[in-house]
């Protein structure tokens, strides 16, 4: 018997994409600029975010953060020291955040009371690629300790990012980090990608990073897009 071929043509992540679109509309309506931070585990997301939350709060902005990890609320406790609203999402083994997890963890939060919402994703350079969280900006981290060729090894995620943060720059000399090679590789997989060089430890690059966020937030408030 000849099989019948039935066209389906449906996105495998359609449900996630629909939820993400709803979240994006909510963030836009509330005027909250949402940033999805992605990287491998241990690239320095939490430290930079800790400093970012404190700095933004100091200048009178109202940031908040969601932080995803397979287990523990260690990062949420660290980030909460900045005094801003923070919630931990424990994924219990799941290697990435999904739009539903973000949506569920916004309950009882008045989004209109925030200017910025940072979502620190689970440390993973593959699985986080496909899941839209409704963010306005996706920022990928590349720590100088990781090697300059990380973008070539994980082109999918680096290509999906709107900006790159080169982190742990205080360790660049000790790691013999080849800055030019890293920049070339980032631009090979994502031509034109804005690159911010930072150190959460020393504060190097913080003012540029904060200025970049303010600038993108302004663009987002004006046009609904960070670009």
């Amino acid at each position: 018997m000849t099989p019948r071929i039935l066209e389906v043509r449906k996105g495998v992540l359609k449900k996630n994409d629909e939820l993400a679109a709803e979240l994006r509309a909510r963030f836009r309506a509330a005027g909250v600029f949402t940033v999805n931070l992605v990287s491998s585990p241990g690239a320095g997301k939490t430290l930079l975010l800790e400093r970012t939350l404190a700095a933004l709060a100091d200048e009178g902005a109202r940031p908040a953060a969601l932080v995803g990890d397979p287990e523990t609320d260690n990062d949420a406790r660290r980030l909460a020291r900045s005094g801003v609203p923070v919630r931990q999402i424990q994924t219990h083994g799941v290697c990435h955040l999904e739009a539903a997890m973000v949506g569920n963890n916004l309950a009882q939060w008045d989004l209109a009371g925030f200017d910025y919402l940072f979502i620190e994703n689970v440390g993973n350079l593959v699985c986080t690629t496909s899941y839209d969280l409704g963010e306005a900006l996706r920022v990928v981290f590349l720590a100088v300790t990781e090697g300059e060729d990380k973008p070539l090894k994980y082109p999918g995620l680096f290509n999906s990012a709107d900006a790159a943060v080169v982190s742990k720059c205080d360790l660049a000399a000790a790691c013999e980090f080849d800055r030019d090679a890293a920049r070339t590789n980032l631009h090979a997989v994502r031509p034109g990608l804005p690159i911010l060089e930072t150190s959460g430890k020393t504060g190097t690059g913080m003012s540029e990073w904060l200025a970049y966020l303010r600038d993108r937030r302004r663009a987002f408030l004006e046009s609904g897009k960070a670009w």
């Binding site: 019948r4 389906v8 043509r9």
Partner: protein, 114 residues
């Protein structure tokens, strides 16, 4: 490793399509996976075997079509495939571009029903 949850989504979508078609036995499920989608075809095929157990799709085969990166070159004003996934530039004129038109697909294309 998120291919198991992706495989479960594939099973859910294909099962719905089968129900809409009035039932039958599914022999093949075709999916299209872009090389930038963050999904490994081998891992997805492996997880599919696990995900179909005890479902109406048990016994079916997953066929993965890998979709290449397609760029739109602003200089040549046409779509083209870059030389490789790590160098997003026009193969004709060498212009680097982030205008990706293909390679991020993650879709159930069709099912074959006997």
């Amino acid at each position: 490793m998120h291919e198991l949850s992706i495989a479960r989504n594939v099973v859910e979508i294909a099962t719905e399509a089968l129900r809409d078609a009035g039932g039958g036995t599914v022999s093949v499920v075709r999916v299209r996976v872009g090389v930038l989608a963050g999904v490994a075809p081998e891992a997805l095929t492996f997880c599919y075997e696990i995900a179909i157990r005890g479902t109406p799709l048990e016994g079916s085969q997953l066929l993965v079509e890998v979709a290449p990166v397609v760029l739109h070159c602003p200089t040549c004003d046409r779509d083209a495939q870059p030389p490789d996934i790590c160098h997003l530039e026009c193969p004709v004129c060498g212009t680097a571009t982030a205008d990706v038109r293909g390679g991020r697909e993650l879709e159930v294309e069709s099912i074959e029903v006997i």
